[in-house]
């Protein structure tokens, strides 16, 4: 573990140079919001931000990814035979990612990379990505990472952690991947004891700013069917529009669909994010829909995150406390309130 101090100019110059060996993704101001984009001439990083509206999960798990390709041209002897599409697994760095979004990758990893299953694409994208996290000096009012196993300076899953010290950045290499990235950035000076203490103080004071109390301790012992049949689901779902915003913004939602698209005689097989909020998600060809009602879909989302996942992996909830679904739900459905209801039922 190395701790180095960089001036902000020095660090920005280092990032520019880093683009020779990494695809560098940074938060860029985009209208009223921030979005993770490749750092190039048009996209200037802005690290003075709270969090991006869309989580950076798409760097590892693209919203749409071409898996396979084929030709439909019957004159071609290879017609209809599916081939893997080329993919880009060159090294990438996500710089400025918040610790909650890094924790979200750890949550999704349990689904896509475990002893029984390694997702052919997610795993390779993830392994080629270096996560350079930026601690949160000023968490949002909707943040609750501390309640779900994380924290504004949580180091778990990060390769590098950045402390914004005002005039300077303190960079902490946490893994071999992270040290390798830092090794490519010239300049900086070793952090002295005072700087290290200041960094720890910064982290401690940030944690105290998160005041939400969201107990999750009793979820595991609850009987699934009791929660499933609890009286509050209709009321929670009452205003839901089934717009799917919560699932698309969520850094821990991983459900997908696989679709074919054809242009002329050339076809692609594409994996797209999907959402359990949509009736089509479960609709059978026959017209039968086992999850036909809105409240059933809302219940599915919360039960998956806060009960089924908890039971299956015994490693906390499927939520990193980023608060995006709370901030951007058009009808103010609040996972913190739902979690409270479930935990106390």
């Amino acid at each position: 573990m190395t701790d180095k101090i960089f001036s902000k100019e020095e660090w920005l110059g280092g990032l520019e140079a880093l683009r020779k060996t990494y695809g560098v993704f940074v938060p860029v101001k985009d209208g009223d919001f921030h979005t993770f984009m490749p750092f190039d001439k048009g996209n200037i990083p802005d690290f003075d931000y709270q969090n991006s509206r869309l989580s950076p999960k798409s760097v590892v798990y693209p919203q749409s990814e071409r898996l396979f390709e084929y030709t439909l041209d019957k004159a071609d002897s290879e017609a209809d035979i599916v081939k893997e599409s080329p993919k880009d697994y060159s090294p990438r760095a996500v710089v400025g990612i918040r610790p909650c979004d890094v924790q979200a990758f750890q949550i999704v990893k349990r689904n896509f990379d475990n002893p029984e299953y390694r997702d052919p694409w997610w795993v390779q994208h993830f392994e080629s990505t270096t996560l350079v996290g930026l601690g949160c000096n000023e968490p949002c009012s909707t943040c609750f990472c501390t309640e779900v196993g994380g924290g504004p300076f949580n180091q778990e899953g990060l390769d590098v952690l950045i402390f914004d010290m005002g005039e300077t950045y303190l960079l902490r290499g946490l893994t071999d991947k992270g040290e390798a990235l830092l090794g490519k950035i010239t300049g900086g000076s070793p952090a002295d004891d005072q700087a290290l203490k200041n960094a720890e103080d910064l982290a401690a004071s940030a944690s105290k700013k998160i005041t939400s109390s969201i107990p999750t301790d009793k979820l595991k012992e609850k009987v699934t069917n009791d929660l499933f049949n609890a009286p509050f689901w209709e009321e929670i779902a009452f205003a839901c529009l089934n717009c799917g915003t919560c699932t698309f913004l969520c850094p821990t939602c991983w459900c997908f669909d696989i679709q074919d698209e054809v242009l002329g005689k050339e076809g692609d097989r594409i994996r797209n994010w999907d959402s359990c909020m949509f009736p089509l998600f479960t609709l059978h060809g026959s017209g039968h829909n086992p999850r036909d009602n809105k409240f059933q879909r809302v219940r599915q989302r919360f039960m998956h995150k806060l009960k089924y996942y908890v039971d299956k992996y015994d490693n906390g909830v499927q939520c990193s406390g980023c608060g995006r679904c709370v901030r951007y739900c058009p009808v103010n459905i609040d996972i913190r309130e739902v979690c409270n209801l479930m935990n106390n039922y």
Partner: protein, 278 residues
């Protein structure tokens, strides 16, 4: 940029050729297929495949042939959605993609030496036929075999030649009924549960295997229980919109279970209290 092909990717379809097509009813066709690599499909009765029609997509289809049938396999398909309409337009020699087989099989081994009561409603006979044919190919390894088949009307009966053969065989009991009679129909009329009064079962040694539309399960299970068949000897196959086939995409999730992986064949005791399952 480029990397080796993922030959063992669970998402990469193997290509197969349609070797025979048979019109079963107005809306169902049977497709016999052979994998291009010459290998057998390697399925067990009750499993399904993800069938690709390139340019259209994929859909889960249960295998209707028994694994005893060498290097070809059969999918019987109702024309009802995008993919099934597309496959109905295909001709012998066309290429399709196959992933799988996926999912849990019927209790082929556990039920060996026991009596079997098959209950099929409508195209529920398609997956069940795989097990029935397997049992008929290994007839001396199983006890009494009874097949109950119910269709909405006579024109929706499928595999007519086989139904006739089953009726003629003296080593199995075959009974059928239609919900609504039609021209020339002389058989039973009534829902499938009305056939239960015509059969005798030894409940302790009977395995009841049920496949049909969602509404049928509730009533057939009641009949089976009334006959004293233990819950753990009742098996059923659930239908869901299964996409990936390996428990990852989320479409077929019922509470903590994934139908594509934990099912589609379930032991009744494993799902009797599973909300949203039946």
């Amino acid at each position: 940029m480029n990397q080796p092909m993922l030959e063992d990717s669970p998402y990469l379809p193997k290509w197969a050729e349609i070797t025979r097509i048979e019109q079963l009813t107005e809306s169902e066709k049977l497709f016999e297929m052979r994998l291009a690599n010459g290998e057998p499909l390697g399925h067990s009765p009750g499993q399904f495949v993800e069938l690709s029609v390139m340019g259209i997509g994929e859909a889960p289809i249960s295998v209707s042939s028994a694994p005893t049938e060498n290097d070809v396999f059969e999918l019987a398909i109702r024309r009802i959605g995008n993919l099934t309409t597309a496959i109905h337009g295909s001709v012998t020699g066309d290429r399709v993609g196959i992933r799988g087989p996926f999912g849990t099989p019927f209790p082929v081994e556990e039920a060996r030496g026991k009596d079997l009561l098959f209950v099929a409603g409508g195209i529920g006979l398609i997956p069940l036929r795989s097990f029935i044919r397997f049992v008929l190919d290994h007839r001396d390894e199983y006890g009494e075999v009874t097949v109950l088949f119910g269709a909405r009307n006579p024109s929706e009966r499928i595999f007519l030649d086989e139904l006739e053969q089953w009726e003629e065989r003296d080593d199995i009991i075959y009974l059928e009924s239609v919900d609504k009679s039609g021209p020339g129909w002389k058989g039973n009329v009534g829902v499938i549960t009305t056939l239960f009064s015509q059969i005798h079962v030894d409940p302790s040694r009977t395995y009841c295997i049920v496949v049909g539309p969602p509404v049928m399960y509730r009533f057939v299970i009641l009949e089976a229980k009334a006959r004293g068949i233990p819950d753990r000897q009742i098996f059923l196959s659930l239908e869901r919109k299964m996409k990936c086939g390996i428990g990852k995409c989320g479409h077929c999730q019922i509470n903590h279970l994934y139908v594509c992986q934990d099912g589609p064949v379930f032991r009744y005791t494993d799902i009797f209290d599973l909300e949203e399952a039946l």
